[in-house]
């Protein structure tokens, strides 16, 4: 095992070298190329001035040297083993070990490490929230669809998932902002950014003027949610449907009423009917988890509404709630596509194993269906999910270009795109280097995880 890991680690070095060579060549060979000229952005300057500027940038970044020399210089500066260089790029010694240096970004004029350190936490936050969400929902839906193969749930889920998968993030984000963040429709969420200006002056946790208000809120939310969930779990189908019908109708009515433009009788009735149908449909479901989720969220909402009605004074939401509020739309946008894909993947993986010989043997032995599914089949179905998760690590760093751009979040995705657009060579090379490294590490980890999940796989 150890030799295997070592071998893989050593193999990474030439792969990474290859990646950087390709990126470097592509950037240097692109029309326009990287030259001091593109840094000068030279309009409205006299030629002497422009020349002076070019010389300045050439001196600073060594852009007038032949491309192979530039590449060698860059390689030397990022490598932990190499020559020492002074400011002009002349070699001053051979100290062997030195601190790797990713260089200075052309556009920002600041060390690349600083830029990445500044942007990374934001991207990490988004991904840490959305990745577990994707996995939990995708596995739940996928396994359920596989066990209910060909039945109503399977077809409904596959239609919805296919629909989700085909909606481009760009469109979804713009529509969400247009409908859920605009005062023309429902202004429930902010249009962008990570916190409101006012939230910066707030305390971190929510605060209320009277001491019992927060407690009352928590208790009410808990009570309502618990009551709704118990109802969803214990009660038979018909009373459930009735409750769903009523809740949905109330919700639909309230939503339309919130809308200034459409506040007519017919649309109010329409909203109510649509909500009622949706509520009844969801409440009718045989899937406990879904019911719990739907009724639980309805319970939380009613709890909040009841608390708001009882509360003597409005409370300060605090920085934390404000941040969460800002993250809702971006996280949904970031999740739904991957969710649909993973759910489809896990469905087919589980399905394949459910009909396999070992599952039939287990059933024949008298193992109950639940244990067959989760102890035998599910474990074996994890393999394709692990393969996909190998790309998780680099995506944690890469961020999402589209979501970050739509919701004005200054994360890694935007940094990378700006770097490419402005031909910021140092930044592009560093980002590709790091994400290449993370991809390779991700594949290595995935390969190791195979061995853990599947005893047949061994590297000795």
């Amino acid at each position: 095992m150890l030799t295997y890991i070592l071998r893989r680690l050593l193999l990474m070095v030439p792969t990474l070298l290859g990646i950087t060579v390709v990126v470097f060549v592509v950037m240097a060979a692109a029309p326009g190329g990287i030259s001091a000229l593109s840094l000068v952005e030279g309009q409205n300057l006299e030629p002497q001035t422009k020349k002076a500027l070019e010389d300045y940038y050439n001196r600073l970044y060594g852009l007038d040297q032949p491309a192979p020399v530039q590449y060698a210089r860059w390689l030397n500066s990022i490598s932990p083993v190499g020559f020492a260089q002074d400011d002009t790029g002349a070699l001053t010694g051979w100290p062997m070990l030195k601190a790797p240096d990713l260089g200075i970004s052309f556009r920002y004029g600041r060390p690349v490490m600083d830029l990445i350190a500044e942007r990374l936490p934001i991207t990490l936050l988004l991904n840490v929230l959305s990745i577990p969400l994707i996995y939990v929902i995708a596995i739940a839906v996928g396994v359920r669809a596989a066990t209910q193969r060909g039945q109503a749930f399977d077809t409904q889920a596959s239609v919805v998932l296919l629909g989700l998968w085909s909606v481009p993030t760009m469109l979804a984000g713009v529509l969400m902002i247009g409908f859920l963040a605009s005062d023309q429709f429902w202004q429930w969420f902010p249009t962008g950014g990570l916190s409101r200006r006012a939230a910066l002056d707030m305390p971190f946790l929510p605060q209320a003027e009277v001491w019992w208000a927060l407690l009352a809120l928590l208790v009410l939310v808990f009570l309502f949610a618990a009551a709704f969930m118990v109802f969803a779990a214990r009660v038979g189908r018909h009373p459930r449907m009735l409750a769903g019908l009523l809740l949905g109708a109330a919700g639909g009515y309230a939503m339309i009423q919130d809308l200034d433009a459409l506040n007519s009788l017919s649309s109010l009735v329409g909203g109510g009917v649509f909500g009622a149908l949706l509520g009844a449909f969801l409440a009718r479901s045989e899937w406990l988890a879904l019911r719990l989720f739907v009724f639980g969220s309805a319970g939380i909402l009613s709890g909040v509404a009841a608390a708001g009605w009882l509360m003597p004074a409005p409370m300060i939401p605090g920085f934390l709630l404000d941040r969460i509020w800002h993250l809702v739309l971006p996280v949904i946008c970031l999740s739904y596509g991957g969710l649909a894909f993973l759910a489809k993947l896990s469905r087919s993986a589980v399905l394949e194993n459910l009909t396999s010989d070992y599952a039939r043997t287990a059933r024949a032995k008298g193992v109950n269906e639940r244990d067959v599914l989760w102890r035998h089949v599910f474990r074996n179905s994890l393999l394709p999910l692990i393969t996909v998760s190998a790309t998780l690590l680099p995506s944690l760093l890469a961020g999402s270009v589209i979501v970050e751009a739509i919701f004005s979040i200054e994360g890694m995705g935007r940094l990378a795109v700006e770097a490419v657009q402005t031909r910021d060579r140092e930044l592009v090379l560093s980002i590709t280097l790091i994400s290449g490294l993370l991809t390779l590490v991700g594949y290595l980890l995935a390969d190791l995880a195979y061995a853990i999940v599947d005893p047949r796989v061994s590297y000795d």
């Binding site: 029309p31 000229l37 409205n44 300057l45 030629p47 500027l53 005062d183 249009t191 962008g192 971190f204």
Partner: protein, 617 residues
């Protein structure tokens, strides 16, 4: 496992709660530190106040004063503040509220002289001040930090006398030494300000004679000397001088910004671009006689166009700049009209769009080297229809590089009309005519008249305009091949002068210099005369104008230069675009000045009446 689940969950919840409370306490601590800083600042102010009061008392007791002696700040109200003072006399004038605007791209840095984008310059204009500024009505120079100024007889030495009692926002006094320091600082090779350094190269030295007198010495006579010296934004020496020993920190900084302007960063050192917003607070120690109305100025970074529009509709930002098509559509939008007023105005600094005809390629003169061909192209370019159909009327035809409202422009020169017959006559004279009845113009050798037009691919309006031009040229038998191009590729083409024709726009100022684009000395590699236009008569006119310090005489020379440009048509001048913006209705006293809308005018003239204020404390 499942037996312990309850315990595990409660333990996790407890841990998370503990963590949250810790963060809460940490935030409180930071806030307390901020308050402490504020109190220290205030007590320092109180101390200065007490000292000056004591000195006054001593002088009073000693009877050591006389009326009319010394420089009294109250006696001469600075003319630059006249408009702002008038605004304060409006019946509904009130201080308070915030002005919130949006940037379409993130800022790299706010540090003065290191930053190069227009957004950073906008923020800096509220924090830094210069010696002079232009009066928005008359466009004359007025003293801001400077009280008076005078040229020496040869126009090479410019002496400024500063106002007494100027202060930076940290309470230190602003003196002539700070002005001299600013020049020294920018000219230091280790500071990453090559752009400003190149601009200030015309100055030989800047010296402070005493606390209130500073002398700018020029290396050569320069027509724009007043702008160069009077527009220099003054850095506080006590704050920035440490970066001369540590230039790296300054060059790589994200926002080291401190000045004497009406607003300041809450902390001049700690701004970071990842917060997605820039926020300035009112400078409590502002020296000016009129306090700025807004409590805070906020800029939010919102890159996505539709998100920006929705945010504006929600009332979270106060200004929304629109493109012509969008503007025309939104003007009819009831909901938007209710809360925002549409403004369309011509900024005197609005640049002009043009098509430039390359006259020499690979050492060979091109077909555009012939004046008749260029003139014919101008006759064929139906600018009025381009403005009508592409810009929806939100532009005016450009005649020359000079703004039609400036003295540089001669009203005799009117836009060249669309005239196919004259164009065809001129082209026939130059040897291009239809020879085999296929509607295509060919020269004597039978080669068809066709050329590439290079343009910037990202701009939709330009794209539409190029397609429109292709159609009207095609009708005259000329083939235009559109070549959409990326910005860096375009710069490369310009540098190598490797193109037939290109469409671009130049920005202009109140007084526009055309040396770079049209003087033959600038036709070298890397010069902005990228069309190889050489005209000795024009060269002489430009040189004479640039060396002429007397305004009357200079304007006559500029008009002479314009005549040559008008006759020669090295560019086909297209249009100047209007600025189109929607502005929240609660903002009052918006008006058009000679410098465009006074939204960004400093000292600030706009305000929000008390009952309509949205943000408060």
């Amino acid at each position: 496992m499942s037996r312990h689940l309850g315990w595990i969950v409660s333990l996790i919840v407890l841990g998370v709660l503990l963590l949250l409370v810790m963060v809460q306490v940490d935030r409180q601590w930071q806030r307390l530190t901020g308050m402490e800083d504020l109190m220290r600042e205030q007590s320092q102010d109180l101390r200065t106040l007490r000292t000056s009061l004591q000195r006054l008392e001593r002088e009073l007791a000693a009877g050591d004063f006389a009326l009319g002696r010394g420089e009294r700040p109250s006696a001469d109200f600075p003319a630059a503040f006249e408009r702002a003072r008038e605004a304060t006399e409006a019946p509904d004038y009130a201080q308070g509220d915030w002005l919130v605007r949006a940037f379409a791209t993130g800022l790299a840095t706010l540090t003065p002289f290191v930053s190069s984008d227009a957004y950073a310059a906008e923020v800096q204009s509220y924090v830094m001040e210069s010696l002079l500024q232009r009066n928005p009505d008359t466009l004359e120079w007025e003293g801001l930090l400077a009280r008076s100024w005078a040229f020496s007889d040869d126009g090479m030495v410019l002496t400024f006398r500063l106002r007494p009692g100027l202060r930076f926002s940290d309470g230190e006094a602003l003196t002539a030494h700070d002005v001299a320091f600013t020049f020294r600082f920018v000219m230091d090779e280790r500071i990453a300000a090559p752009r400003s350094r190149a601009y200030l190269e015309k100055l030989e030295s800047v010296e402070a004679l005493d606390d209130l007198t500073v002398v700018f010495t020029f290396a050569e006579p320069y027509f724009n000397a007043l702008q160069l010296a009077g527009g220099l934004e003054v850095l506080p020496e006590h704050f920035y001088s440490r970066y001369l020993d540590d230039p790296e920190t300054f060059n790589q900084s994200r926002g080291i910004l401190l000045g004497s302007g009406p607003y300041r960063l809450a902390n001049p050192l700690t701004w970071t671009p990842d917060s997605g917003r820039v926020e300035l607070e009112r400078n409590p120690r502002y020296w000016g006689p009129v306090d700025p109305p807004f409590e805070r100025l906020v800029w939010r970074v919102i890159q996505n166009d539709s998100a920006r529009l929705t945010t504006f509709r929600n009332g979270e930002i106060d200004v929304y700049g629109a493109r012509p098509r969008e503007y025309a559509r939104l003007r009819d939008d009831e909901a938007l009209r209710e809360r925002a007023e549409a403004h369309e105005y011509m900024s005197p600094t609005a640049g002009y769009a043009y098509v430039a005809w390359n006259q020499e390629r690979d050492g060979q003169p091109t077909r555009f080297a012939d004046r008749r061909v260029r003139l014919a192209m101008s006759y064929l370019t139906d600018v009025a229809r381009v403005i009508d159909e592409v810009m929806l009327g939100y532009a005016e035809p450009a005649v020359s590089p000079f703004s039609p409202r400036s003295e540089q422009h001669d009203p005799q020169h009117t836009p060249i009309p669309y005239d196919v017959e004259r164009a065809q006559a001129l082209l026939a004279e130059a040897g291009y005519r239809e020879r085999n009845r296929d509607g295509v113009l060919v020269n004597e050798a039978g080669e068809p008249f066709s050329f590439d037009l290079v343009f910037f691919q990202e701009n939709e309006d330009t794209q539409r305009m190029v397609l429109f031009l292709r159609d009207i040229y095609a009708r005259a038998g000329i083939e235009l091949r559109p070549r959409p191009t990326e910005w860096s590729v375009m710069l490369d083409l310009l540098n190598r002068k490797d193109f037939d024709a290109i469409t671009l726009a130049w920005t202009s100022g109140v007084e526009t210099d055309i040396f770079q684009m049209f003087h033959s000395s600038q036709a070298v590699a890397g010069g902005d005369n990228f069309i190889n236009f050489r005209h000795p008569e024009l060269d002489r006119a430009i040189e004479a104008a640039r060396g002429e310090v007397d305004e009357e005489a200079r304007m006559a020379l500029w008009r002479e230069a314009e005549r040559i440009l008008y006759e020669e048509q090295p560019y086909t001048f297209l249009m100047r675009r209007q600025t189109l913006a929607f502005i929240d209705r609660r903002i009052q006293n918006l008006e058009q000045t000679q410098l465009g809308l006074n939204l960004g005018a400093i000292p600030i003239e706009i305000y929000v009446p008390a009952e309509r204020q949205r943000y408060g404390r």
